[in-house]
Symmetry: C2
């Protein structure tokens, strides 16, 4: 496979080490006990949405498919496992031949989800499925958290474009995945060159305060920038005095100056003053970009301000208060024996600790009302009721180990917009609330 | 260089794309204006600690050194920048020869820091320094956030070991860096095999609920695990009924059973009951590991419980409420011209927006009281007062582009423990408060 398909802007020999130690010791014990080949069904779901959130957004599925395809134990990895005595020789021999050969179904990327939604269903032998737990959860928990925040910001921003610029606030490779998830959630562009390289997301950026400070005067800095980047550039106007900077900017770039950026202060007030000043200077088409510690609430509060675009960093890449989801990967059914024809038995944890779950291989469908608006997430085992047959949510992603559902990121992005638009109107309220539709178990 | 030194368990051709688009457009404009070669000093600092935190922990420095060393623009990267018209041909030619040739000083990794501490100082031409902003901040903001949470957890845990097991709750490569930062902050082991592979951190793990559910009975599962992993293993006892599970566990493994793990329920209550039961069964040396949604407060609340080790996931990798730091990379001084002998001029943003900073190349020292306890973080420009000369915090990390300060992770970990121990006692209070020592500007 092409290592460029890994979802990373790097060559990665394998995703097999993105795995918790216990996945391998379980494998060893199951191989030894003769239970490793029992056909098994694992499901990814979440018991709750983050507090106050009304819907979740599935993101990272494309990266999961890449990770599964590339999950191999090469000589270097096997040597490490041997040296550290993680597992025995019989298990190492088994791992050397590992290649996922099972089936994966899941919610298509960009779909919305609710508590209990079976987001991903991985089916195969216990051995081949259990190993994938950690990397699948890492990807979905991270990417879905970012996409959910992005989706709220995008609905708050309405038609105004959002720029992702959070790379400096998170791990350098998490940043690339965050750009991707933000794009799925509705962002238009990113500052992160690696995200542009890997995913083709449009990248943007012009200058920082350091550029102004490098020069002997703000005027010199603006002139240097316009000379090099053209009149369509975006000038940063809050290094010294905003009013003076705007005057200088239009003087140097002319009335066709592309945009000014404001990165501090009371954005509502400053944006109004800058708009008025730009208009008075004849720069009526010059746009205003704001970029200071924005989140979905700040974006919403600027709805009436003369702002043309928002740049969002910290709050996007940290999921706006919820940097991870609580998705889990649970065994929900397994065969009674290693016989491939043995029937599946539903299983579930049953202790009093509150972390119980529903056993059995599940289907899910979204029931709509007469106006086509979602009214319930219906989750069940067994036969799908005929009236929900064409509203089913899970699609085939991997068949017999082969990925069958790659798709362009723009398709995913459009799917998300459509899915969000089909939710009740209260879905995009920013105030805290419950899931916008209930989950019903059949 | 060895790509294994990148801080990633992967081969990465370059770190140069972990960069915001605007760093390159600033470079182009400065090259065009003749200001790119002005000698410049950039500093990394934070204006505040996360709300309620009393100290910060520097982590990621080792990864920064790797990233700087490997920051190169190869043909693939240059081709991308050309195709997307990020910068012009003259700038691409400059980038093709890029190699950082300046100097970096910084707080040694593992040190504590406070608002205004000049954590890292990067000096060279504007052009060569400005490019490093994004990747340096990504690494330090992420890793230091995790290390700060780890340090609080470690002081709450006292002598009991902490196991890092958050890989599934964060981006798969952020997880590796998080394991490293947790180790710096005082964690003992990790579940993440990639962190073991890359950084030599001891990895641990035995089994999950899925392993119990795979088998026809809990008894079968325990027998399979003990047969394969030995009596010293850790059995997970909360899949069905804890009391019955503990009885079965000791029956099968014998009184030398290594440990039992409890992953749900009222851990204080359950730990007491399990300890009593284990003792009654003669398994007095069998340890109890708890692992359910722990943070530093939950760890502290279990101080009086018969618990031998804590496993921490979500709250560790998300920085226990603060998944990023607010470190910035600011130009604080630059030459008046491109002449290498031109004097440096202090510079700083001055607008009314609140994001102001202190110009000038800084030193920092930690002043101690008579008992050797830290009493102030002293930050200044110009000459260092003689009485603080041997308490200076910045050390040389890169000299003329060459890394001069690599060190083993255990050295960093010990440094952190020593630095924390030298703070006033109130540093490790978990309740919200101010910085435990003030920052004084000289």
């Amino acid at each position: 496979m092409n290592s460029a398909d890994l979802g990373l802007p790097v060559d990665v020999p394998s995703t097999a080490l993105f795995t918790d130690h216990y996945e391998l010791t379980m494998l060893q014990a199951a191989l030894h006990a003769g239970t490793a080949d029992r056909r098994s069904v694992f499901e990814v779901f979440t018991r709750r949405l983050p507090e106050g959130r009304r819907y979740g957004v599935v993101a990272g599925t494309g990266r999961v498919l890449d990770a599964v395809e590339n999950f191999r134990f090469d000589a270097g990895v096997l040597g490490f496992l041997r040296e550290r005595k993680v597992v025995d020789e019989a298990t190492l021999a088994w791992l050397a031949d590992y290649r996922f050969s099972g089936d994966i179904w899941g919610y298509p990327e960009g779909e919305v989800y609710f508590p209990g939604s079976p987001l991903l269903r991985v089916e195969g032998s216990f051995a081949e499925c259990v190993l994938l737990e950690t990397v699948i959860l890492s990807i979905l928990n991270h990417d879905s958290a970012i996409a959910a925040a992005a989706s709220r910001m995008a609905s708050a921003a309405g038609d105004r474009p959002l720029i992702e610029m959070g790379a400096r606030r998170t791990h350098e490779l998490a940043a690339v995945a965050a750009s991707r998830a933000a794009y799925v959630g509705g962002f238009a562009t990113t500052s992160d060159l690696a995200a542009g390289f890997r995913y083709g997301i449009p990248t943007v950026g012009t200058s920082a305060h350091a550029f102004t400070l490098l020069h002997d005067s703000e005027r010199d800095a603006f002139r240097a920038q316009v000379d090099s980047l053209g009149e369509g550039t975006t000038l940063l106007v809050d290094t010294y005095d905003v009013k003076e900077a705007v005057r200088t900017a239009v003087e140097i770039a002319g009335p066709k100056l592309g945009a000014v950026r404001i990165d501090s202060g009371d954005l509502l007030l400053v944006a109004h003053r800058v708009r008025q000043q730009l208009d008075e200077l004849g720069a009526a088409d010059t746009k205003i970009v704001v970029t200071s510690d924005l989140d979905e609430y700040a974006i919403a509060s600027l709805a009436a301000a003369p702002v043309d675009a928002y740049g969002v960093g910290t709050q996007l890449v940290t999921g706006s208060g919820h940097p991870t989801c609580s998705m889990v990967y649970k065994l929900v059914a397994r065969a009674e024996s290693a016989d491939p024809k043995a029937p599946l038995v539903p299983v579930a944890k049953k202790s009093a600790g509150g972390k119980t779950s529903v056993g059995g291989r599940k289907w899910a469908a979204r029931r709509l009302d007469r106006d086509g608006v979602a009214e319930a997430e219906v989750v069940g085992t067994g036969a799908v009721p005929p009236e929900l047959a064409d509203r089913q949510l899970l699609v085939e992603l991997v068949r017999g180990g082969d990925v069958v559902a790659r798709e362009p990121l723009d398709t995913v992005r459009e799917r998300h917009i459509a899915a969000r638009d089909a939710l009740p109107l209260s879905a995009t309220q920013l105030s805290k609330g419950e899931s916008v539709i209930p989950t019903e178990y059949v």
